[in-house]
Each structure stands twice: as C-alpha cells, then as structure tokens.
Symmetry: C3
Subunit: 168 residues, 3 copies
C-alpha cells in the first residue's frame, strides 16, 4: 500500500484504533500526526487515552494548524497516520483562517502522498440540522473537506461500530 | 435505466452533485424539481450555488409543496431529478398539512415513475436524540418517508464523503 | 442461524421491524426483550406502536435494567430479539450505575448466545458534537458498547432507510 487511505466514521466508531492497526501492520517506524489541541480536561483525557494506547514504534508530531507543513516534511516511504481532519478544521475555524485556502493546500499535499498515508476524519452530517449557525457552517466545511479528500484517496473506509465498510 | 433511484446521504455528502451526474449521463432534456424555499439568506445562497452548478440542458421546476402534481405532469421517458424530499417534508410540516396523506400520495406517484427518476433525500437520524419535540418529530417523519421511498426504488445509494455506496 | 446478529441504525431506520422479520422467519416461540421504560407519553406511544405491530407467537419480557439476567434465563435454541441496547444504556446512565461493569457483564452473556439472538442498537455518533456534556458522554458510551457487541457478533447489519447493509 503506497497511497492515501481515508477512514471516516462517527464519534466512537473505532476510526483511530482501526487506522492504528492498519499502520502497525506495516514496518515501523510509524508517524502519528496529532491535530488535537487540549482546550479542556475532557479533550486532555481523550488525547491521553489515545496516546497510551499507542505503544513503542510511534513517533508523535503535533500539528494542530500546520498539517500541510508536517506532511510535507515526512520522509519518503514511511507510514503516517493523521488523526484527525475534523479537529484540524476546527482549529482553523476558531483561528478564523481562510478555510478554502487551507483545504486547497492540504488537498494538494494529500494528492502526492510520499508513502502509505492514513487519514482519519469524522462524519458529522447525518443528524438533525444544528440550531446554531457556527455548527451548521462547520458541518458544511467538514462535509466539503471529506468529499475532497475521499475523491483523492485510493481507499475509503467507513467505520460502523468498529468495523470497516469499504466505500472505495 | 427506467425506474426510481433513491439517493440518501448526510449534509454535504455530495448527494445533489452525484444525482446530477447520473441524470446528465442520460440524454437531455433533464428536469430539475426543486423543493427548496428561500426562507433566509443562508438558504438563498445554497440554492444559488446548486443552480449555478447545473448548466444548460436543465429545466427547473419549483415545487416546494405540490411535488406530487409536478411529478404527475412530467412527460414519459424523461429524466427527472427531485432535490430533495426532506425539504419538501419540512415545507409541509411548517404549513401544518396532513403528512400521512401527503406522503401516501407522493409514494403512489413514485411507485409508477414515467421515466428514469432520481430522488435525493437526507439521512437525519444518526445523531444524538434532539432536544426539542419538533426536531424529533421531523426526524421520525423523515425516517418513515425515506423507508417508504427506498422500499419502492429500484436502486438505493447512500452517499459517504461524495462516494456512492450501493444499498439496493 | 445460531449466534448473535447485531443490527445498528439511526432513528426510524427500520431496525426493529427488520429484526422482527428476521426472528419471525425462524420457528416460534419468539422472545422479545424490551428495554424501554415509559417515562412520558411520547415513549408510551412508541412502545405501544411496536407492541401492536408484533402479533401472536411473541413472548415479551421487560428488562429495562437487568438485561443480562433476562438473557441468561432464556432457554437454549430459542430466538430472542433485544430491542434496544441504547435504551438499556440510557436507563443505567440515569440510574447512575457503573456502566463499565454493566457493559462487561452484558458482553459476557452475548459472547455465548444460547440460540439465534438478534440485538438492535442505535447509531448516535454521526451528527455534530452535542452541546451538553451528558449527551456527549452518552454518545461515547453508546459508541463503545456498539463496538464491543459488533466485535462479538457473527453478523452485523447497518440499516439505511429500512434496508440492511451487511457490515460483517
């Protein structure tokens, strides 16, 4: 596998765990690019849980905003896990950056993966229309970004209750 | 293809775009039946975006409420895209019409498509239970309508990040 | 079929109806284990609707909390439908029980089904992140439980507009 695998799923659908298994089936070393920012205790606990689940062999890079730069700096042929796109998008929205430009730059780097890259993202559009405009905007931007990356990816998997369903 | 294709997906899952591609692969002219009503600027922007994406060859019919009538008036053998069922349902709910009767009449006209008809609808039931009773009722009604139309359709596709997953 | 079938889907996706059809295709008698508690009129109406849809041949057991005990008491070889896991989880959350312990005990009894058992559960994680912490916690717990049971099950189906999509 030497291309882009896109793994989409709802909250607690087992996306991260499954992506880690796919990466760990390849020869180490593995790079984990984390986009999470620990705003509060709930998020800190979640980050800690993910980090403790991963064992030796993983090299962690924090890239809450400059994911494009972090990816461009990856060595050729090395497995990379990006976890996750929706948090990266949240960080740029909160920072009031130009999302169109950021997403375009990200899609460009994903279009030429330098190894087996695995990208995790959230499905957030299958509930009722949210009350507040910011949530609606986030839902729209996340959906657009997911479509863009899925279109580029070699393989697209949707997680359902911890199990992968092949979409592409 | 001379029957009913039902395309369901979350917000920004690429439903409309994919349905337009399926229709545009058939010989023109194509009819686009729009159920959207421009209540506010956000909706007006969304309608405008969809409209500008469609090019020549499309004939647009607005049917925010009388979708059944609009479909019954379609010529035999001509491709039709209905976008979308959930907005049509919203319009009838806001008008406090008899939803059971409306959905029954709609299902009857869909049961005998006069050509290759493509119907787009939203999945809204995969989030947390909504706080307010109106949203819960909408979710129930939309789910029931989606089941009814999917049962009639020859082909049912679920959109995931812009990609179709064959359900039927 | 002599194992565990897990049926997951959104609200009004046809989960219960489809599970009932799978059970009713097997020789009677059939046991229906209901986890619903009638807190309000809306819930009472929903329970009544489900109950009236099921006909003769069904034996109903109410197990809003002690689902593990109700399952352990089932005779060997007899079809059982559990409807649904997410309501059972809600009941334990509201009672402030130890969810980890409860889910572990439940998973143990599901790991050795005494006949063809069918378990219905809700997908609640594919919408926008909920505003309130309790809803977020419920979403996390439900997702974790769904993963646990899907991992054990022989067959996993996801319902889309009343139609089953095979996941496992």
């Amino acid at each position: 596998m030497n291309g882009l695998t896109f793994i989409i799923g709802g909250a607690r659908s087992g996306k991260s765990r499954y992506a880690e298994e796919l990466v760990a089936a390849l020869p180490a070393p593995w790079t984990y690019i984390a986009t999470a920012q620990a705003y509060d205790d709930e998020m800190r606990a979640r980050i800690g849980e993910h980090r403790s689940r991963r064992g030796a062999g993983w090299h962690t890079v924090d890239a809450p905003l400059d994911l494009t730069g972090a990816l461009a700096a990856q060595p050729q042929g090395q497995p990379v896990l990006v976890d996750c796109l929706t948090l990266w998008l949240t960080n740029h929205m909160l920072a009031e950056h130009d999302l169109d430009a950021e997403c375009r730059r990200l899609a460009e780097v994903f279009a030429s993966p330098r190894g087996p890259w695995f990208v995790v993202s959230n499905e957030v559009g299958q509930g009722i229309v949210p009350d507040n405009a910011l949530a609606r905007r986030f839902r729209d931007e996340a959906g657009r970004l997911n479509q863009k990356i899925a279109a580029i990816a070699d393989t697209v998997l949707m997680m359902v209750a911890g199990l992968p369903l092949k979409v592409k």
